[in-house]
């Protein structure tokens, strides 16, 4: 085994390749790797944040849904109440109207009855006077017996 110039040649070659790797290979590749590491880190962070956002949005949506349901229930309840109220009012109005109509009819009937009574009374008075005239065959002084006739008519 001879030691010769190859030794020096190899030393120089070695240093040249180390220099090349140091200048052109290592920084570029390490830079790229670090850049990717950064990218992955931010990507993961963003994914996590997105997950959180999603959870938040879901919770918000659920809350809003619940609120909407409550509102709807409230509205329906209000509407029911209002409907009942309207129904009650309508019933009351109908009852009132009926009462009024009934009262008016009754008044009219009463008036009619009174009038009939009055007519009847005057007819009875006239008839009784005519009857009495026939019985007595004399003209009764209507004036003299008016009081009596009136009294009679009132009794009928």
């Amino acid at each position: 085994m001879n030691i010769n110039l190859t030794l020096i040649g190899q030393s120089i070659t070695f240093l040249v390749f180390v220099w090349f790797c140091w200048k052109y290979v290592w920084p570029a590749l390490l830079g790229v790797m670090q850049e990717r590491e950064q990218k992955i880190a931010t990507g993961l962070e963003e994914a996590e944040r997105a997950g959180k956002d999603l959870e938040l949005a879901q919770r918000k949506a659920a809350e809003q849904l619940k609120e909407a349901k409550e509102q709807a229930a409230e509205i329906i309840e209000g509407a029911n109440k209002r409907a009942n109220q309207i129904l009650d009012e309508a019933k009351q109005a109908a009852v009132e109207e009926g009462d009024r109509l009934k009262a008016a009819a009754k008044a009219e009937i009463d008036q009619e009855v009174n009038r009939a009574k009055e007519q009847l009374r005057s007819r009875v008075a006239a008839l009784s006077v005519a009857g009495a005239e026939k019985i007595l065959s004399v003209n009764i002084d209507a004036k003299a017996h008016d009081d009596l006739i009136d009294k009679l008519a009132a009794e009928l």
Binding site: M1, N2, I3, N4, L5, T6, L7, I8, G9, Q10, S11, I12, T13, F14, L15, F17, V18, F20, C21, W22, Y24, V25, W26, P27, A28, L29, L30, V32, M33, E35, R36, K39
Partner: protein, 308 residues
């Protein structure tokens, strides 16, 4: 295998000889008997010639494969870096990023100082050394025979695993060592670095005692300092050289009858599977130790002194 006339020893020696291009001195008698009139740069035609070239020779195959695989690594990773997006990564980009992530984590655990060069260096070492080691899994004769055919020379020396060449592993260790010294001096100053070498581990606090301790300290510290790159280079070389050697021995068994062929096939498979672990582990160890040495170079002794 490589010629019936060859003995097993020749075969092994041929496989362990690098393709050397170097300077032979004037008056040298070459393998074919010719005598050189003046010193010449030429290809070595025998192991003896390669050895006689001394220091002024270069292993074209080791260095060629090392540079080729280094370029492959640089090209693939630079292309991945150019195409890289921070979006969804494609297949190869994922693989590159996985490797980078692995190296980056390891360096961050081991090396806590501020130096942007250490992590890319660790990546380069890991991938490059792994690729060089991986050549060991290519059957030992394929590439050398292909190269011999292509060159038209049956005796062409051609080793394809750069990390089985001591020059290559020690060369890298040497570069790491140079960086260690450079960062030590840059971080601690020349005085600080010399202090580290001379005032540790024995230190009394009284200058007239310390002066006599300096030679011992220097000896100990120098040994431990030099041992770092040497052990770094030798460890990788030793593991891969041994692995290569076993593959060569198994390759010889292939030629010994039908039984030998079947046995060798199983041995080859088993050793290759085991070797996948070895080559990865050795690349990993080289990277980790380099990072640790860089960390030690950046450690300031006075920071530790305050802890006591």
């Amino acid at each position: 295998m490589a010629g019936e006339a060859q003995t097993a020893t020749d075969y092994i020696q041929h496989h362990l000889q690098n393709m050397a291009y170097g300077k032979l001195p004037a008056g040298y008698t070459r393998a074919d008997g010719t005598v050189l009139s003046e010193s010449t740069w030429t290809m070595a035609h025998s192991s003896q010639e390669a050895a006689d070239m001394g220091f002024w020779a270069i292993h074209l195959d080791s260095l060629g494969w090392a540079i080729g695989l280094g370029l492959l690594f640089s090209f693939l990773f630079a292309r991945a870096a150019k195409k890289a997006t921070s979006g969804v990564p494609s297949g190869f980009q994922s693989f590159v990023e996985l490797t980078i992530d692995f190296v980056d984590k390891l360096v961050k655990d081991t090396f806590q100082h501020r130096n942007s060069m250490v992590a890319p260096m660790a990546l380069t070492i890991f991938v490059w050394v792994f690729l060089m080691n991986l050549m060991d899994l290519v059957p030992v004769d394929w590439l050398p025979m292909a190269a011999a055919k292509a060159a038209g020379n049956d005796h062409l020396f051609f080793k394809v695993v750069p990390t089985t060449d001591l020059n290559v592993t020690l060369g890298m260790a040497l570069a790491v060592f140079a960086l260690m010294i450079f960062f030590s001096i840059r971080e601690k100053g020349t005085v600080g670095f010399i202090k580290e070498l001379t005032l540790h581990p024995f230190h009394s606090g009284k200058w007239y005692v310390d002066i006599f301790l300096i030679p011992f300290n220097l000896l100990l510290e120098l040994v431990s300092l030099i041992a770092k790159p040497v052990s770094l280079g030798l460890r990788l070389f030793g593991n891969l050289y041994a692995g290569e050697m076993i593959f060569i021995l198994i390759a010889i068994v292939f030629g010994v009858g039908v039984l030998g062929f079947i046995g060798a096939a199983f041995l080859q498979l088993g050793w290759a599977i085991f070797h996948i672990l070895v080559i990865t582990l050795q690349a990993f160890v080289f990277m980790v130790l380099t990072t640790v040495y860089m960390s030690m170079a950046h450690d300031r002794e006075d920071e530790h002194a305050n802890d006591h």
